[in-house]
């Protein structure tokens, strides 16, 4: 059976070139990067090289601004808790949005339990945060603003430059979770006034278990895990050298290929969207029609619940995600779609297709062949759907 992977916002397939780069560090070059001897120095050299690759990919002023972590979630935790703790004497108020990834949302909720105050900014029907609402939310106690670069579920790209400028004007630190944006849209920290930025290796065809927190020079931040003097004293623990080498290589490749990838992904994604719209009635697009990641398509199939669609597609070898929370054991529709004001019943039928570099036109056409009969069969089973609708 054909296999079509359209869940690249969940994770991507590691590239062959990345694996090649990593292999020596999983075998012969096993030293601890903190050791002084030649084994250690070899690992240190690889670490320095990867740090340079990441800094260049992000457009960071210095490789010292790059802190390696275990992934996007740890980067978000370090950014938010680290700044909140370091700034505790200045204030106890944080601002984020209602549509953040749970790595940010639940970190903020944990801080609320510790006595911090958090404002969750609303979004419009497309998932956009308004610059004005941010401006109004900032108070004298505000120490950190954390707003995602692009949303993982619907792909909406936030006006990060404008938002970060507001933060800068008001002298408040600005963090962005750029896990979904990096590698998909062009990007340069030299023209983006953010103080902290999270990224993940496995979303850009790199390995799992590795990520980065970019920390602009001079930003006050406390470590959240204590131990040795690794990573400029900001993240204790022996560095995961093979994974970091892989991440560095993935960044290097992403930087080079991004313009072509971007065009290819948009063409495939729009082929999928147009095909769905022409073959299936009662479908709505969730997310911004233009300000959206080139690979992300979130559509709602009215009268249906997402998991039943997902399972049927899975039986045909097609991997997607649902926008509904039923899969996670909660019965509420997605918090992102809810924040966008999507009718809860419609949000239940959301399916996220997230494309990647391996996808082809044949993949898309295969989906367009398999999907319509699945939708029809499930609608025939749905008490909400009346024939002739």
């Amino acid at each position: 059976m054909r296999k079509v992977y359209l869940d690249n916002n969940a994770t991507t397939r590691m590239r062959e070139e990345v694996l090649e780069a990593m292999l020596p560090y999983l075998k012969d070059i096993y030293g601890n990067a903190s050791s002084v001897h030649q084994f250690g120095r070899a690992a240190r050299a690889a670490l320095d090289n990867a740090r340079n690759q990441v800094a260049s990919f992000l457009g960071a002023a210095s490789p010292e601004e790059i802190i390696f972590t275990s992934g996007g979630t740890e980067s978000d935790n370090l950014a938010i808790k680290g700044v909140a703790h370091a700034m505790r004497s200045k204030g106890d108020h944080l601002i984020t949005t209602a549509i953040e990834h749970s790595a940010v949302l639940n970190t903020c909720r944990a801080l609320e339990k510790d006595g911090y105050k958090v404002t969750y900014l609303p979004v419009d029907e497309y998932g956009l945060v308004s610059v004005d609402s941010l401006r109004k939310a900032i108070g004298p106690q505000t120490v950190l603003i954390s707003i995602m670069y692009a949303n993982n579920e619907v792909g909406t790209i936030e006006p990060i430059t404008e938002l970060a400028e507001v933060a800068k004007e008001r002298g408040v630190y600005f963090h962005t979770d750029a896990v979904q944006a990096l590698g998909k849209i062009s990007f340069d920290l030299s023209s983006l006034p953010v103080d902290l930025l999270s990224m993940s290796g496995h979303k850009i065809y790199g390995p799992k278990g590795v990520g980065v927190l970019y920390i602009r020079k001079g930003t006050r931040i406390d470590a959240i895990a204590h131990g040795g003097h690794h990573e400029m004293n900001k993240r204790a623990g022996t560095e995961n050298v093979p994974a970091i080498v892989g991440l560095g290589r993935a960044c290097e490749l992403a930087k080079k290929e991004l313009p072509d990838e971007w065009r290819k992904l948009i063409a495939l994604r729009d082929r999928l969207y147009q095909g769905i719209m022409s073959k299936i009635p009662h479908v709505s697009l969730f997310g911004h029609p233009e300000k959206r990641l080139p690979n992300t398509l979130n559509v709602g199939f009215k009268y249906l619940e997402g998991e039943s669609i997902l399972l049927n597609l899975d039986m045909e070898g097609i991997a997607v995600s649902t926008g509904s929370a039923c899969t996670s054991g909660t019965l509420e529709p997605s918090h992102v779609l809810t924040a966008m004001g999507i009718d809860p019943a419609d949000a239940q039928g959301a399916i996220r297709f997230s494309l990647g570099r391996d996808n082809t036109e044949e993949d898309i056409d295969y989906v367009l062949t398999m999907l319509p009969p699945i939708i029809q069969r499930l609608r025939d089973m749905s008490p909400l759907y009346e024939k002739g609708n």
Partner: protein, 147 residues
């Protein structure tokens, strides 16, 4: 999480039994709501000896919701009303080889749909109805897309 579905659940999900409507049903049960992500409509046909001779369903919901609808309609056929009222959500789940813990509410929904259809039948025939089914749907939180 889908991976936790038993083979039996997947079998009923792939080829659900008794999908459809009974236009001249003796009892119809409607439970759930779209906000919570599942709705079941269950139809029963009952003969003069109070034996359920046919059952059909229409369901909006996840894989487990469809599988439990399929199973509960299988289980009630040929049973008397009294026997059918003894079918618990656990019995439905067990007949499916178990359900993931987070999907147990689907079996509760199936039990409720059955009781609601039986109540409809009892009410239509001027008989005393049974107590209203329990309520579910209490969790909340964010989705897990694996992102």
């Amino acid at each position: 999480m889908e991976g936790q579905y038993s083979e039996k659940v997947m079998e009923h999900f792939r080829n659900p039994h008794n999908v459809g409507e009974i236009p001249d049903a003796d009892g119809v049960g409607n439970v759930g709501n779209p906000v919570c992500g599942d709705i079941m409509r269950l139809y029963i046909k009952v003969d003069e000896n109070e034996v359920i001779t046919d059952a059909k369903f229409k369901t909006f919901g996840c894989g487990a919701a469809i599988a439990t609808s399929s199973m509960v309609t299988d289980l009630v056929k040929g049973k008397t009303i009294t026997e059918a009222l003894r079918i618990s959500n656990r019995a439905v789940a067990e007949a499916l080889g178990g359900l993931p813990k987070i999907k147990m509410h689907c079996s509760v929904l199936a039990e409720q749909a059955l009781r609601s259809a039986i109540n409809d039948y009892l009410a239509k025939h001027g008989k005393p109805t049974i107590k209203e089914p329990r309520s579910i749907h209490e969790n909340s939180g964010e989705p897990n897309l694996g992102d």
